[in-house]
């Protein structure tokens, strides 16, 4: 039975929607109990398509200007959603179509308790009140495997982690057993191991309830685990759709092929770089020893420190000229703090950095430069590009001469930007171009080490690939040493020679990239790698795991026990676990 049939859907925005079409004639069918994944990059119209199905698009300034959306309702009647009135739509939303969103942190009302928000669905669509509604809400939380549900009902959203909140969202959306669930990038804002949990939960609930699902994502690797059929969107059009295996194994459209080939996919170490060998006796470009960063925790204005957040604990590694060391970990693991401490943006509690020039203690060393995560925030919007590129030169006490300008032009050309960029402002560039600008700026002083903090994470997947390529080329050309901080295993696999896995502030495993990725030894590394979505792993099941990340707050004067390391090859070692 066809649950949903979309025909030639057109959606526009703004004063004159016909002139500003975002979705340009999309058609697809969804059978009951089937999962359709809609894949596309930002601006492809995938979210707008999804929001049109329950007409939420109206509230975002969009208007359906053509086509039909036929929904088979629970009583068997068929309704054209595009023609439905608002009261009818209110009956359908929540009851027959549930929806979950990208940002669980902002998608729940901060001033209402979680219980109130789940109960609301039962009150609206099932007419439950009082105890009955509370009991139903508790059952809904149980269903998404939230432990201690009765107590959590009274929590405010800010008391729960992102992963937990997304479960609450799922519980709310599924409260009235809708026949269709729309999931709009539900895991994009979450850590990879949490993402794996949510994906597993969705797959299980789908089996339990027999609901149909539309799953929207930019990550084609993610669809393999959940979708029955795939639709690829580009610039408002569906360029390809078909069964999961057909699309992934025999893509027809060039854009699908591009997504599958040009975009980094995790290949368990098989795609790791092999273009670098350490030479005997060579001095490292950077050597970090015993780096520790702790932030004191105080409870009152005058009270003494009650402990410290051990953000980075006894981290050490060597980085050779021309080599890339990737530091991977999830949010809160201390990977960015490590990078920031090396650049002097965070004051280390202990530890030593040695470059080939000797010991360094602060940021003003022109040999070390940094590229930041967010290309929109790392360039001053009010400065012209020539001023931006001149800043490191001025800071190092130099003058902006003709020679400097020549160097700017050469670098811009090298990173693939037009020469007239110098007279422009940051807002005139796309995200990928801005990141190229940041790279050019970092190279102005001929550094030997570049720290890249999540440098491609904010970019669209196909842009990511090109920036990574550029980074590899520049590394070879200038013999740069990269410290590449990232949460994304697929990206890391393309650029790293060596990998250090950090968990709760400590390195748990370090070594040659291919070896670490193909043969992980520490339990956390294993968990991390198995959570990475991959087109190779279809319909793989995950264990449901509700463990919370360990707290990093320690009592005052706490010192962690000495790490014991075990070797697993010439350049691969992991911490021994208790």
């Amino acid at each position: 039975m066809t649950l949903l049939s979309v025909k030639d859907l057109r959606v526009g925005f703004g004063q004159d929607p016909a002139k500003n079409e975002i979705v340009k004639g999309v058609s697809f069918d969804l059978e009951a109990g089937e999962t359709l994944a809609i894949v596309g990059e930002s601006g492809s119209g995938k979210s707008v398509t999804a929001l049109s199905i329950n007409r939420l698009v109206d509230f975002g300034g969009g208007r359906i200007i053509g086509g039909s959306i036929h929904l088979t309702r629970a009583d068997g009647s068929v309704l054209d959603v595009t023609q439905a009135s608002e009261p009818v739509l209110e009956k359908i939303r929540g009851a027959e179509i549930g929806m979950i969103f990208q940002e669980p942190m902002t998608s729940l009302n901060p001033v209402l308790s979680i219980g109130t928000q789940i109960e609301e669905s039962f009150r609206l669509h099932r007419g439950l009140t009082g105890r009955q509604a509370t009991a139903a809400a508790k059952d809904a939380l149980d269903r998404v495997r939230i432990p201690d549900a009765a107590r959590r009902l009274r929590y405010a959203p800010n008391q729960l982690s992102g992963g937990m909140l997304q479960r609450v969202m799922i519980a709310t959306a599924l409260a009235c057993n809708p026949r269709l669930l729309i999931a709009d990038e539900p895991t994009t804002a979450l850590d990879v191991t949490v993402q794996a949990q949510i994906m597993a939960l969705l797959a299980e609930l789908k089996r339990e309830t027999g609901m149909g699902m539309i799953f929207i994502t930019h990550d084609i690797g993610l669809v393999a685990g959940i979708a029955d059929r795939v639709m690829v969107m580009q610039a408002g059009q569906a360029v390809e759709q078909g069964a999961l295996d057909a699309v992934l194994d025999r893509p027809q459209h060039s854009y699908t092929k591009h997504l599958l080939s040009a975009v980094p996919h995790f290949e368990s170490g098989r795609a790791a770089r092999t273009d670098f060998k350490r030479k005997q006796g060579e001095a490292p470009a950077l050597s970090v020893d015993g780096l520790t960063v702790r932030f004191k925790v105080k409870n009152g204005l005058f009270s003494r420190a009650q402990g410290a957040v051990h953000a980075v604990e006894n981290v050490g590694f060597d980085l050779m000229p021309g080599e890339t060391l990737a530091i991977v970990g999830e949010s809160g693991s201390g990977k960015s703090t490590t990078a920031r401490a090396i650049l002097g943006l965070v004051k280390p509690t202990r530890g030593r950095f040695v470059t080939h020039k000797g010991s360094i203690s602060d940021a003003t060393d022109p040999a070390t430069q940094m590229v930041f995560q967010n290309p929109y925030a790392s360039l001053n919007p009010r400065l012209r590009i020539d001023s931006i590129l001149a800043e490191p030169v001025i800071a190092a006490g130099g003058k902006v001469t003709n020679e400097t300008r020549e160097k700017m032009k050469a670098l811009l050309q090298r990173v693939g930007l037009p020469e007239d960029s110098l007279e422009r402002y940051p807002h005139q560039f796309s995200g990928g171009q801005r990141q190229r600008l940041c790279i050019a700026r970092a190279l102005m002083l001929n550094p030997s080490i570049v720290v890249l903090d999540e440098a491609v994470s904010a970019l669209d997947v196909s842009v990511q690939a090109k920036v990574l390529e550029l980074l590899v080329d520049l590394q070879k050309e200038f013999g740069l040493a990269y410290l590449f901080v990232s949460h994304d295993m697929a990206v890391v696999e393309r650029i790293a020679h060596r990998i250090a896995v950090v968990y709760a502030g400590e390195i748990v495993e370090i070594g040659e990239a291919a070896s670490v990725l193909s043969n992980p030894q520490h339990s956390y590394t294993k968990r991390l790698i198995s959570a990475v979505p991959s087109i190779d792993r279809r319909n793989q099941r995950f264990e449901i795991d509700t463990r919370q990340v360990a707290s990093l707050v320690r009592p005052p004067a706490y010192e962690p026990p000495e790490a014991r390391w075990r070797d697993y090859g010439a350049d691969h070692r992991a911490r021994a676990e208790a």
Binding site: P366, Q373, C438
Partner: protein, 277 residues
Amino acid sequence: MLRAIFSHPSGRIGGAIVLLYVVIALLGLFDLTPHDPLQQYRIDRLKAPSAVYWMGTDLFGRDVASRLMKGVGQSFLVGISAVAIASVAGTVLGLTAAWFGKLWDGLVMRVMDVLLAFPAILLALLIIAIAGPGTWTSVAAIAIVYTPIFTRVVRGPALSIKSREFVDAARTFGSSKTYILTRHLLLNLVAPLTVQVTLALAWSLLTEAGLSFLGLGTQPPASSLGLMLADSRNLMEKAPWLLIFPAIAIMISILGFNLLGDALRDILDPKTRSRTA
């Protein structure tokens, strides 16, 4: 920028009003008025508006239109000087408080809290009590009243810009404090400051009128809108033009700056840009 203001509906109206007032104020300040604002035409006392006296005359036979122009000039002089002082002082305090943090931030912000604990007009009254009434005391009083507001308006965004990645980047290059404070922080604060200056001009006109109304601002025989309103109180039934024209003049001048400020906020702040298209 000008084009943006004039393509914004309230910017167009606000901009036109402000422009008109600037012209009136300049004419008033340089005594280019239809009559001498101090000249008492004894035979023409309390005359209704006519071709000779556009807005009538007052109890002493002085031309209301000329006095109004002079008053607008006076109000603008006080308002603009006060806002100029307050915005510079507030910017320096807010910027340094945000950048240096810790003790200096605590000290500056507590002092501002103290100043903000008084209603604006009361604080101004207190300052005038100390320094005695007069034009330049009003300037000082209004400047002190509005300095805390500028300090807060600068400190908030300065704190958020300070944690932006381009400032981190500047610190990794080792850029000097002066460079970071001026090129990175101040340059990005120009937008909120412009908006705030415009709105503060509206408030300071309001405060100046209030002080003069109480007899503590501009002193007679010099003319100011507040004084004219105070003079009209006992005559409003007999000579309503004495009330109506200055009242409307004050309202529209404040309205102009408010409209312009709103428009600037829309234009300069991308977050609200879509809201009042």
